[in-house]
């Protein structure tokens, strides 16, 4: 097999890696300037503003179409979240009850291993 210096495919990989490093270093240097921060943040601010205006417009449009608004969907999501949380609590309570041996609803939780493990001796095998 050819050594890496003479292998065009290995050379391609190396060139690609070097190009990546070079481009990243160049871009990082440019991005470290205050001018970059100023321009980037101005652009982000404008995008966020446009996004908000678009959101408000959509809400009015949905209302005129007699469709649920975003706020109503968020309210529904909050109610769903409340139901999910309550279900999780009920499930946890049932599991706790079963593992304590007092329950009959559903299968019992698998037994937990004893908390007796010790670290292996320095020269010993990991258990």
């Amino acid at each position: 097999m050819a050594d890496k210096g003479n292998d065009p495919f290995a050379v391609w990989q190396t060139v690609l890696g070097e190009m990546e490093k070079g481009f990243n270093a160049f871009a990082n240097k440019a991005m470290a300037s205050p001018e970059f921060s100023k321009t980037m943040n101005q652009a982000s601010g404008a995008t966020a503003g446009a996004q908000r205006q678009f959101g408000e417009l959509m809400e009015k449009y949905l209302l005129s179409m007699n469709m649920p608004s975003r706020a109503q969907m968020v309210d529904m999501a909050a109610r769903m979240q409340g139901i999910e949380a309550q279900l999780s609590e009920i499930k946890a309570l049932l599991q706790a009850r079963n593992s304590a041996g007092g329950g009959t609803a559903g299968p019992a939780a698998p037994p937990r291993p004893p908390r007796t493990k010790r670290p292996p001796e320095p020269s010993g095998e990991q258990k």
Binding site: D3, S44, R70
Partner: protein
């Protein structure tokens, strides 16, 4: 030199044949790539102990006949999903810990809902983390626990530990955790207080969208995404490479939004005022003095971390008050140090040897 040149000439037909075969394989595998989903991630069996909006607490089912007395609570970074630590069997940090006899819990995050935009740093440090600690205590029946925090999960763990320094945290392990936020130079420049209107942004969008978080990460290495796609095409004949690419790419692009007020606090307190490093950080009126942390602590940092450079992370060990403290610098980047082939060889065994003796 002549002999080497002759050897190269002799190998050219073989090399060309290999490349032709790979080109054919690329076409076949390329079609497969676009017509199939990647490997299923995060499959280690677990139970959800608590789910409250953006917060989830999992308990992983034990895989050993006996476990260490002290359970582990992993606190995941709020920007990313916890399955980076549970990729696929054989490449899962969680599975590794379970097989080594640890009882593992994870505080993981889902996207905060619009109504959770008002979650503050106080909610994370004084509610979510302590709530999960209590549940781990109840579920395991043990008072003590070890905490592992990854990246910003490490910051949350430190803030928690500096406030609740009388317990029950017995050991603390931080992975790639920033302390001096000025040394995250590009992030620091992106959020320059003269130009970055964090209040305007949060008031406009509520939760900070994941695209914005992802672009800020990708801007740290702007050429890498394009190059990684070229490399993927080069290696698409290689199933292992493709599997690994898909796992990490899926995780990296599965970025979470950040709750608006929480993002506001991170920007103002950490990025602008560098309060954790300066010792002026407080959460909900509680002073967060790292010197108050006295438990055994291990900080694992990556040699080539472009997100949390070593200069940003190196102050942790000198600043904590623990007598038993250690920093390890491992080869790898911000992600590869905790997951992937490098982590299997380096970080995981180191963590096991450090934590085992402290978990009884």
């Amino acid at each position: 030199m002549n002999a080497a040149a002759a050897l190269d000439l002799a190998s050219i037909p073989e090399r060309i044949q290999q490349e032709v075969q790979r080109a054919i394989q690329r076409s076949i595998k390329g079609v497969e790539y676009f017509s199939s989903s990647g490997p299923t991630l995060g499959v280690t069996p677990k139970d959800v102990l608590s789910a409250r909006g953006t917060m989830n607490l999992y308990h992983y089912r034990p895989l050993a006949d006996e476990v260490y007395r002290v359970p582990i609570l992993i606190v995941m970074a709020t920007t990313n999903r916890g399955y980076i630590l549970d990729m696929v069997p054989g490449q899962s940090f969680i599975e590794f810990l379970l097989r080594r006899g640890y009882d593992v819990y994870m505080l993981d995050w889902t996207a905060p809902r619009p109504e959770e935009k008002s979650l503050r740093m106080e909610d994370y440090v004084l509610d979510f983390v302590p709530h999960c600690v209590r549940l781990v205590q109840e579920d395991s029946g043990e008072t003590d626990l070890s905490v592992i925090g990854y990246c910003f999960g490490g910051v949350l763990s430190l803030l928690y530990g500096s406030i609740f320094h009388d317990g029950p945290m017995k050991n603390l392990i931080c992975f790639t955790t920033p302390i001096d936020f000025r040394k995250m130079e590009l992030f620091s420049n992106f959020s320059d207080r003269r130009y970055f209107d964090v209040d305007g942004l949060v008031d406009s969008v509520g939760n900070v969208p994941p695209e914005m978080i992802l672009s800020s990460f990708e801007m740290l290495r702007p050429g890498s995404r394009a190059v990684s796609q070229v490399q993927l095409w080069d290696n698409i004949w290689n199933d292992e490479y493709v599997k690994s690419y898909r796992m990490f790419d899926r995780w990296a692009t599965d970025t979470l939004p950040l709750a608006g007020d929480y993002f506001r606090a991170i920007t103002k307190d950490l990025m602008w005022d560098n309060k954790l490093f300066n010792g002026t950080m407080s959460v909900g009126g509680h002073t967060c003095d790292l010197a108050g942390i006295k438990v055994p602590i291990l900080h694992a940092v990556a040699e080539h971390d472009h997100i949390v450079p070593y200069d940003a992370a190196r102050h942790l060990i000198p600043m904590v008050g623990s007598a038993d403290k250690e920093e390890v610098i491992l080869k790898g980047g911000h992600v590869s140090v905790v997951a992937g082939a490098n982590a299997i060889k380096r970080l995981w065994p180191k963590l096991d040897s450090w934590l085992g003796g402290r978990s009884t």
